[in-house]
């Protein structure tokens, strides 16, 4: 019943890859996994996107940016926001995870490790500056709904950790 695979027309991929997450500009919405389908029908592109968090204020902007990018490429488009299946951090691609790390945001751990890290039980989140795992949870909530705040005890760098959502 629930479709978890993406349906995206090959020709649209390079266009959609140019659209970035407005809050994490290094990350394309494709690597973020928010585009669930993009199909050309009668010269109109039907795009389905799904929010990372319910209250994500970036979704409207992402919708507009997709429209603009497709328009530049000569397509009209219709954007639909879908909630099911619910987005999970598993949909961030390996390239997306690397982009996050390079940008200074620690990529999400698996669900179990995430819980240990956010309860402050284990020091497992890697500092994005020096790579040390001698890090400390500052707050379970960070600058955006999807992140928590950490600080490295070795190099003292404060950084964001992208929370696991499963």
């Amino acid at each position: 019943m629930v479709k978890t695979e993406q349906h995206i027309d090959q020709v649209l991929i390079p266009i959609l890859e140019q659209v970035s997450d407005p809050e994490i500009p290094v990350l394309s919405i494709m690597d973020m996994g928010v585009v669930r389908s993009a199909i050309i029908e009668n010269n109109v592109v039907k795009v389905q996107i799904t929010p990372t968090y319910s209250g994500c204020p970036a979704m409207d902007v992402i919708g507009d940016d997709i429209k603009t990018a497709l328009n530049k490429a000569g397509y009209n488009s219709k954007i639909e926001l879908i909630l099911s299946p619910a987005w999970t951090t598993d949909w961030i691609t390996p390239r997306g995870r690397k982009a996050l790390e390079d940008y200074g945001i620690a990529a999400p751990l698996n669900a179990e490790a995430d819980k240990e890290a956010l309860l402050g039980h284990k020091k497992i989140v890697k500092c994005t500056n020096c790579g040390s795992t001698n890090t400390r949870l500052v707050s379970q909530f960070g600058s955006t709904a999807c992140k928590a705040q950490f600080q490295c005890e070795d190099c003292q760098e404060p950084f964001d950790y992208f929370k696991c959502l499963k």
Partner: protein, 250 residues
Amino acid sequence: MKENLYKYILGIADNSLILGQRMGALTGHGPSLETDIACTNISLDLFGQVRSYYQYAAKIAGDGRTEDDIAMLRKEREYVNVLLVEQPDTDFAYTMARQFLFDVYHFMFLTELQKSKDLTLAAIATKSIKEVSYHKRFSSDWIKRLGDGTELSNQKMQNAIDNLWTYTDELFHQTEADKAMVKDGIGVDVTKLKEGYYKQVIEVLEEATLNIPESKYFQKGGKEGIHTEHMGYLLSDLQYMQRAYPNMEW
């Protein structure tokens, strides 16, 4: 229109709207930067969930009203949130106790709502529960931290729990619309959540070295639109822009 379904959706959504408004009002007023950000993040999650519910309610109502109209343009007695979520931020212990007492319920409720025969409600529940699991972890953590903290923090948290306890029983009351929806396999039978709820809450309170309130006197009324004196003030804040500048948009 499907009257009962419409009412049922509002029953869920209004809780999140009013609690979201309470938490959002802490923007810039949290006791520390981190807790301030946490409270507003929780508020943002709740508002996000509320949008999905009200959009659906507007579709069901089918009378031209939008999600914003439903959120902003009802009178006090037309809001059907539980009394718990409208209680004021007397101090940070109250804020966290209110959040915790609601989060435990909210998580259990959404767990069941995921199985609803109504696929839109089930989808919203599946999306929301991921966020609510973080809220619950955060508020539980603060119950323990303040309860098992200093003599003063323990006393303040005990005070908050004692005073808010009276609003917990209402979570498990059913309106006529609720009952009809349960019968149709759409709604959650909240009466079945009660035992598990108190068990979970008591577990955390004990770990936090807090006393379990003994009072058996409970307040209710919110689900029928009869609110506490705090609700009017909250709404005047929430609705100010729409009342002062009707139909304004961002």
